[in-house]
């Protein structure tokens, strides 16, 4: 530590090029966005607690669903994964830092401005974006509030930030691995992140294109998405989902990687089928590019198109199944213990499986015509996002926190956080399957009394879930301030990987100043 001569105080954070400082900022930023987006979700659940309009005008309700989606996707999940990548990739491949440290600083510092633009629209005349996070034209173009332009520039900035983060990961992984670490020896988290980075580079420009076309439709007289001028509103959906479907995997692949570290560690047994895990991840990523229109089975596509997208989508179940079976096989005849990271990783596997099977149901075009745009879909994607992406992130934080801070967190409170979250997450999202099947459509502030019971369960669950994350905040602060004493260098009995075997806890500021030898 002797030759660490970085600035302190505010300028340390503003000018830092260190992967750990930047990772920390990404993670805190994501946590703040998670709380803001969560508050909006509670606003939604408050209105839906009983039939009738009690709190919000329907227009503001639409604003809440829109901003909740945008903030959770772009503000909470994606920055959390970039934060984890920053912290972990250099340590896991035996590098001192990321390959492009100054760009790293910039890609983070764009984000507060992007979300400042987006959130400021809440205080503007005409209100914030209210057309759903999918911003379908023409609701978002001809009919969008004036603040839509702030949303468009916000999305552009987020996209630039994501692309820079992705480039950094790719350059780092391909150039800075320790001697001996061949591609097929890379830790799974690194593998899943490299694949995610390629997805990001390929689809974020598509999103940027979509919002740019919106902007010119709104202000410069073009009609990309207006039939009256020769355009096509359905083309918007094709472009959006060509971005949107890979985006779904951007939000889950790193969590797959995380589970592939935690489950072997607490099973005290190597990951089952490492190479099939790599190939399965790559096939999922490839398939994610050729299935986008399964979000659009009711737009009136030609039947041949519907058949193709149905079959292509169902194929994704195969590599995804391989991953789940591999995790189960990793535990088989292992020697299992259930510390907090393992509990979250197990919940991830179980609940992601539930989200996966409802995904197969949704893929089947004839029945999707009933499920589409109902609460069944809301249940499905929250099962893959909350217990998937978010539990994955939480599991990672518990697993690596002792390595990051040098302190052990409170296992007792970690477990309380876990049990609170797992009960609440199911109470919130499981009943949505039923209300959706029974006929409740998405994105409505009010409903017939027959849906009241399930909506009340969801609302109670949501408030519990929100409260549970305050426990998480407490555990984090306690651990950073000293926690339950010093962590050992290896932290966990079954932990593998350079960050546990070659680095002390807490890890030094410049992770590896000399490359370790990987055999």
């Amino acid at each position: 530590m002797a030759h660490d001569h970085h600035p302190t105080g505010l300028s340390r954070w503003l000018f830092t090029t260190n992967h750990k400082d930047i990772g920390t900022m990404y993670l805190w930023f994501s946590f703040i966005m998670f709380l803001i987006g969560g508050l909006m979700a509670l606003g939604i659940r408050l209105e839906l607690f009983q039939p009738g309009l009690q709190f919000w005008d329907p227009n503001f309700f639409n604003t809440l669903t829109t901003m909740h989606g945008l903030i959770m996707v772009f503000g909470a999940v994606m920055p959390a994964f970039v934060g984890l990548a920053n912290w972990l990739i250099p340590m896991q491949i035996g590098a001192p830092d990321m390959a492009l440290p100054r760009m790293n600083n910039w890609s983070f510092w764009i984000l507060p401005f992007a979300f400042g633009l987006l959130l400021s629209s809440l205080f503007m005349e005409g209100g914030a974006p209210n057309f759903g996070w999918t911003f379908y034209a023409p609701l978002s173009t001809k009919f969008g509030p004036p603040s839509t332009d702030f949303f468009i520039f916000g999305v552009h900035l987020m996209g630039i930030s994501s692309i820079m983060g992705a480039i950094n990961v790719i350059v780092t992984v391909f150039n800075m691995r320790a001697p001996g670490m061949t591609l097929m020896k890379m830790p799974m988290f690194v593998w899943t992140w490299v694949i995610t980075a390629f997805l990001l580079i390929m689809v974020m420009p598509v999103l940027a294109g979509a919002v740019t076309m919106m902007l010119t439709d709104r202000h410069f007289g073009t009609s990309f998405f207006d039939a009256a001028g020769g355009g096509d509103p359905v083309m918007f959906q094709h472009i959006f989902w060509f971005f949107g479907h890979p985006e779904v995997y951007i939000m889950i692949l790193p969590a797959f990687g995380i589970a592939s570290h935690i489950i072997p560690a607490f099973s005290r047994k190597p990951l089952f089928g490492y190479s099939s895990m790599v190939y399965a991840t790559a096939s999922i990523a490839f398939l994610s590019f050729i299935v986008w229109a399964h979000h659009m089975f009711t737009v009136g596509m030609p039947v041949a198109g519907e058949l193709y997208f149905m079959i292509a989508t169902m194929i994704i179940a195969v590599p995804t199944g391989v991953k789940i079976f591999n995790w189960v096989a990793t535990m088989w005849r292992g020697s299992l213990t259930f510390e907090t990271p393992m509990l979250f990783a197990l919940a991830f596997v179980v609940l992601f499986t539930l989200g996966g099977v409802s995904g197969v149901m949704l893929a089947m075009t004839p029945v999707d015509k009933q499920y589409h745009d109902t609460y069944f879909v809301v249940a499905h994607f929250h099962y893959v996002l909350f217990p998937g992406a978010i539990f994955g992130t939480i599991a990672a934080v518990y697993y690596w926190l002792p390595k990051w801070t040098g302190n052990m967190y409170s296992e007792f409170w970690g477990k309380i956080h876990f049990w609170f979250s797992i009960i609440a997450v199911n109470l919130t999202f499981f009943p949505m399957h039923f209300s959706g099947l029974a006929g409740m459509q998405r994105r409505v502030p009010d409903y017939n009394m027959m849906f009241e019971g399930f909506n009340q369960m969801s609302s109670i669950g949501a408030f519990m879930l929100g409260f549970g994350q305050i426990i998480f905040l407490g555990v984090l602060i306690h651990c950073i301030k000293g926690g339950k004493g010093k962590a050992t260098d290896k932290v966990w009995e079954g932990a593998e990987g350079l960050e546990f075997t070659h680095l002390p806890s807490p890890a030094p500021y410049h992770s590896f100043e000399q490359s370790p030898e990987v055999k």
Partner: protein, 385 residues
């Protein structure tokens, strides 16, 4: 092992309880499951749904059972020495191939059902459905009937901001002023489109959900087997009152349907006669204001509000340029032709109603321009004069 057995049987019980409740739910259209509906295809969709539910629950149950077994049997206290294996080609081939076979098995019925659902040829009659913010317009192409259908649940029932909402009826938010009446046993083709943003026409009992897209016409169909009242909703977010534009279909035997068509045509002729009468006579300011207030509350207040002060992106009319400075003709043209998010009221409202509402907007809330607009002038404006 006895603990394991207990847990396993508990799991089986839990899954069968969920499955049981789904099955038991079937007869009474409960709030737990999809409805089998009243068309051949909705029944097939339901059957396919149940089949995929059972298979998917079985797959998930298998995975969960294996995890549970591992969690109990291979915990450190029971199995202190972990095995070392890390792959098995045979196993990996099995769990790649078996899911593929299951998927192929599921795909087969889905393909034939889908082909039938998308085949709109040889229809007996055609109804054009147009989504408009936030109501549906129906046009019977074979019988020259056209009407608009909008929510009939009174605002007192849903406005509960002061915690004083009126008691809600059984079909709260699922009831309309003009039901779509359709004959049973006939293949009905629906041509679905929209005037403003994308809507989606969904009647769960027909397994029909089709997006209504401005500038494009989508086709779908249904052949209803049983008479009855079937309720649906707009399924695609379409703005502020997306949750407030339900669909109600009343399916009746052919004879009853024919009577309804007769009645509708007679009503239409009567309405045209009255409208012509109203358009021909000269209205007093009082009459225009009284009629205008009624029309305004029914059609305009949703966005511009009863007090004329607007809301959010919906502009105020009170003291506005359009209602006070611009000429009455320009004002009337805007109401007839619409502008951006504002719908075209020219088709929906009669000349007398248009004249009344424009007069009302120019004189209510202290606008006091003193202008009156007569129905005759509206007819001239519509003709482009």
């Amino acid at each position: 092992m006895s603990l394991l057995k207990k847990v396993m049987s508990g799991l089986v019980l839990f899954v069968s309880m969920i499955m049981g409740s789904l099955w038991a739910a079937e007869p009474e259209y409960s709030t737990l499951n999809l409805r089998p509906g009243v068309t051949d295809n909705s029944q097939l969709v339901y059957d396919l749904h149940m089949e995929v539910v059972v298979i998917m629950f079985a797959v998930a149950a298998l995975v969960f059972a294996a995890i549970l077994f591992a969690v109990i049997r291979f915990r450190k206290s029971k199995n202190p020495n972990p095995a070392k294996f890390s792959h098995s080609t045979t196993l990996e081939i099995i769990w790649t191939v078996v899911p593929m076979l299951i998927l192929i098995y599921l795909t087969k019925p889905a393909i034939s059902l889908l082909l039938d659902m998308e085949d709109t040829s040889k229809a007996d009659m055609t109804v054009q459905v147009t989504g408009i913010q936030w109501k549906w317009k129906y046009k019977y192409l074979d019988s020259d009937i056209e009407f608009i259908s909008s929510l009939s649940t009174p605002a007192e029932q849903y406005n509960d901001y002061e915690r004083n909402a009126a008691e809600k009826g059984e079909n709260y938010l699922l009831e309309v002023d003009n039901e779509v009446v359709l004959p049973i046993g006939k293949k009905i083709r629906f041509l679905i489109t929209a005037d403003d943003v994308i809507h989606s026409w969904w009647v769960p009992d027909f397994a029909v959900k089709m997006d209504a897209i401005p500038g494009f016409v989508n086709e779908t169909w249904a052949k209803i087997n049983e008479p009855g009242i079937y309720r649906g909703v707009c399924a695609e977010l379409c703005g502020r009152l997306h949750g407030f534009m339900p669909i109600v279909v009343r399916a009746v035997p052919q004879a009853e349907y024919d009577q309804w068509v007769e009645k509708k045509l007679a009503e239409k002729a009567e309405a045209e006669r009255l409208a012509a009468e109203a358009a021909a006579r000269s209205w007093s300011m009082e009459d225009l204001m009284a009629q205008g207030k009624e029309v305004y509350e029914a059609k305009c207040a949703v966005c511009h509000q009863s007090n004329g002060e607007g809301l959010g992106t919906f502009p105020a009319l009170k003291g506005s340029k359009v209602a006070t400075v611009d000429s009455a003709d320009d004002h009337a043209r805007l109401v007839i032709l619409g502008l951006n998010a504002m719908p075209k009221f020219g088709e929906e409202l009669s000349d007398a109603d248009l004249a009344a509402v424009v007069t009302y907007e120019r004189n209510a809330w202290g606008n006091d321009t003193g202008d009156t607009v007569q129905p005759g002038r509206i007819a001239e404006l519509k003709a482009g004069k």
